[in-house]
Symmetry: C3
Subunit: 428 residues, 3 copies
């Protein structure tokens, strides 16, 4: 349970807010590479952290994210012509490069200096792992480039999607680091989903509905361990790393690709749920990729031509009461991703955390909120850089393993939690 | 004409408002029985008086109306699984019974006492006459169960529908107790509607456009009499009872079923218009029920799968200017129910009663407002229980009769106004 | 660039605002004649300057614009029956004439005087040039009837349309008097549009992207001249007259009809863009009228049954990136009208003029704002009647001509700027 002012602090991310400034210290997933597929392709609107930007790939392939609106008279550059090294406003032909610099005002006299004085704000974009990343903070604080394993393995080992989620980013994150709901909400998925099923771990998961939770602090965030009964004398650990502010990985199952999420605020009442799947040691199978494209695993089906889930708030997530009743679909909502979004969105645009009843299984959520509030406050009050920006902290993996009952957490997985090229992941 | 603060007082019904507390002293129609047709059926969202509830029928058939949101982390229980004696949140499996008590938290240790401390607010529901009724007030003030005649006659003598109306409840009620508009707005219905036509009274109705109105106070509300010329020396009385706060009955016509309404606030800008038809001494004919289902009488056609009228604000009520012009449809809008809702909704979400010009035919409206304001104020200021809660006051009927000119109102109908099992109604 | 309070003053037009009172001193285009085609036709809702009215043509053909809501209980008279000399509210039959006077309350006793005391506010309408004009100010300030040339030439020489624009009126006007965007945004139109192409002036337009701008004050507004290079020793002038507050004319091209606009505020975030085409000396050709109906020139295609452009904000103006890329359609948006509306709407509902970078080509915009602010302030502070109301000031034309380099502005076009019946227009 949070006080009202704590809930405000931890959920709001527009410019000048404490949490907004914290987010502006990290590289954030901004677009899929497929959205800006080639030089001089169509520009794409991007709203993140409440700011409206236009993004484009110029003639040389350089990426740019600049103010959406022309400095002249405020026209949206979404209507712009992406041509010969910049984007040109179609109203009077003012042209900008990827740094936001004005490079042409064709109606000005040849000796005019106006162009040199015009500059739109701009943020750096980089591309890695099929994702275009943005850094929206001050240049002097720009951190090292992202080195998450999913983004650094060979391209054929990794697959990424994004979907619109119509609620604040934090309740989406809280769902992601809450391992305890899997045995309920996603119980069907454990049995039937082609990217989940067939793991010995799933049996432990469904066989012990009262997992013991342990949470350990790391330099970058938390390790959230859920311990369940396995064979006599042994236990099944699922360990979820969370790295500040919005990255987490789901513990693996069998030889399936391992997956995880980012949640990136669009504004305070909407976010992008990013979902990746990768295998650390082999290419993804064609059948796996096809399943992901078909909405299996943590991915979803879309309204054609958009990143809006086909099953969404406006259609009650295509609730199927008959399959809910029969138990075939525990919640009546199809797909793991939509099971999550449907419930998270039902909490309201911003969950009122002054009304809730947390319990021992919510320990990860409680500590993540505490870390976020502490880091945002320290940054706001004394300029303390927030944790989790070092690339080394990104060499992390989720873990699923069976160990002797007595093995202590998190030492039980110390080695397995570190990623390294070609190193197999610890999975059950 | 009301002062601004009076209009606020009499129209707003959320928790803590004067009129809201008054409404919370009565049994109100909440759902049709058909909406919760059987044990363990799908739960149904219910918003009334600004409060959001989830309603369900448990395995034993017991009805429940509890807070919509799970006490744990705020998920809407609309997504819940209605199973084995309670509704279970699909997120982490917390389960509630019809009283709002938490009866299972499967992730808790066996000896946990958390469950005993968790309770969602809950309101009693009862079922009578095809309607599920709710009482949203303090338990110590719960009144006797509803005994309206339509709800206590044998089931085959009664038929009930509801429809969404996109405006404040009071302007809908005011339309209902305003007998004078019938000769204009519904003039076509008097001639052609299968549930209205063929009454001698209709001829009086259409033949005298300047009725004389009398209003008498009763313990529970008002009797609103409209006197029109009949044969020489005699007069035609139509007497509409209004019982506080939101019940009224339309005077009968010939041997048709007699009908009436409740208007129940959803929030301050929307209400449910409830519409019943019953015959006190015989089963409804198949043709009558079919006509009602087809939208005749005071019922309507729906957007399939909803209780939203097919002809509604978003489509200009399917206005037919050609039939309006020809006079075939006086207002150009089909169906008596939609003729009412179209005009009432056109007044705005909450009619601005500081701008109006009331006249003698509005006497019923004026007195009803006065009674409502007085009762709400007395309840708020000194805890005086509002009128109309006693079941005996519900043994009331509307009346249509022809009497000698000199017969005084309301004595002219004293006997006919009382309902009694098997007693024929006074109709012309 | 404006200060925040200046931007508020110049954009807001509801009753009681400075600019709203200024607008209420002029005859404004309200409806197309085709919207009220015949006596006793269907009434039409009209919202202008934030006020909601109902307009109708009575049995004798007289036009009326009265309060939308019945004085009795507030029902919208859009539902009214237009019959025998007035519009009758279908609720209780109250009837109003075109002056807003109540002329019948059928439920009142024969000797009632109520009707005489009931009056809805009403504004005069007149019809001229296929347009129904409204005057929404005090009767004592009513100006002479509109004498714009397009409205006074024979009917077969003139054609008028209107379309909804989803933004404040001022940014639409500013686009209209901004001659410099034509060479960019509408460059395709100059080459291909049947109502624009084939003019020698277009070659000058496209050949000189750095026009020299001059602005001259007139009694009624501004003359905005754009001078471009023509043959050696001569220059090409395009002169756009703006008459306060919202009239302008585009300079002509070859023997095409000449055109212009009004922008009339619906409310502060929407306006009607009125677009006329006329020829001062000949009837429009069938092919020209057909082209206008098909959306060529400054007209557009519609959502059937409405005055909403088919290409609008909700569908991203049917942006065609392939044709934008190929250069076939400079902005990717088809039709000159929609090229304008798409960019103007993209500035936001009300452009934030505290953030812009104006340049020499924006001189007309700067001076128009200054005139508007000065006139609205003078009217508000000392009752000074605003300029431009005299009919004589409406005898104005736009001009396109080639002159010797040295000819001074605006003297170069003094004669050509005056309209007169049968006088050919100055065009290149």
């Amino acid at each position: 349970m949070l006080k009202k002012e704590q809930n405000e602090l931890v959920t709001r991310t527009s410019k000048g807010t404490a949490m907004g400034e914290l987010f502006r210290r990290y590289w954030l997933p901004a677009l899929l590479s497929e959205e800006l597929p080639e030089p001089d392709c169509a520009p794409v609107r991007l709203q993140l952290l409440g700011e409206r930007l236009i993004t484009f790939r110029d003639s040389s392939g350089t990426l740019g994210a600049i103010d959406e609106f022309c400095a002249h008279r405020g026209v949206s550059l979404w209507f712009g012509r992406n041509e010969e090294g910049g984007i040109r406003c179609p109203y009077h032909g003012w042209k900008y490069d990827t740094q936001g610099r004005c490079i042409d005002i064709p109606s000005e006299p040849a000796d005019s200096k106006l162009c040199d004085r015009v500059k739109l704000s701009a943020y750096p974009l980089i591309e890695r792992g099929g994702v275009i990343w943005i850094y929206m903070g001050e240049p002097e604080h720009q951190p090292a480039l992202p080195e998450w394993e999913f983004a650094t393995v060979p391209a054929d080992q990794s697959f990424m999607t994004k979907r619109l989620q119509e609620c604040n980013w934090l309740q989406a994150l809280e769902g992601g680091i809450d391992s305890s709901h899997v045995s309920f909400l996603h119980s069907g998925g454990l049995k039937h989903d082609p990217l989940f099923k067939g793991s010995k771990g799933n049996e432990y998961n469904l066989g012990d509905l009262r997992p013991h939770f342990e949470v350990a602090e790391t330099d970058g965030g938390l390790l959230i361990g859920a311990r369940r009964k396995a064979e006599p004398g042994s236990v099944y650990w699922r360990i979820t790393p969370w790295v500040m502010p919005n990255f987490m990985m789901v513990p693996p199952r069998a030889d399936h690709p391992v997956h995880g999420h980012f949640w990136v605020p669009i504004d305070d009442e909407n976010c992008w749920a990013w979902s990746f799947d990768y295998h650390p040691t082999r290419a993804l199978k064609e059948s796996e990729v096809q399943a992901m494209k078909d909405g299996a695993g943590i991915h979803c089906k879309y309204v054609p031509g958009t990143y809006i889930p086909l099953a969404n708030k406006s259609n009650d997530y295509l609730m199927d009461r008959a399959r809910q009743k029969s138990g075939e679909l525990y919640s009546g909502v199809e797909s793991i991703a939509i099971q999550d979004s449907s419930l998270q969105e039902s909490m309201g645009a911003i969950q009122d955390r002054t009304k809730e009843t947390l319990t021992s299984t919510d320990r990860g959520i409680v500590q993540a909120r505490r870390r976020l509030i502490a880091a945002a406050t320290a940054l706001a009050e004394s300029g303390t850089p927030p944790p989790g920006m070092e690339a080394a902290l990104q060499h992390i993996r989720s873990v699923a393993l069976v160990s002797p009952e007595a093995a202590p957490f998190p030492a039980v997985a110390e080695e397995a939690l570190q990623s390294a090229p070609g190193k197999p992941h610890a999975t059950v």
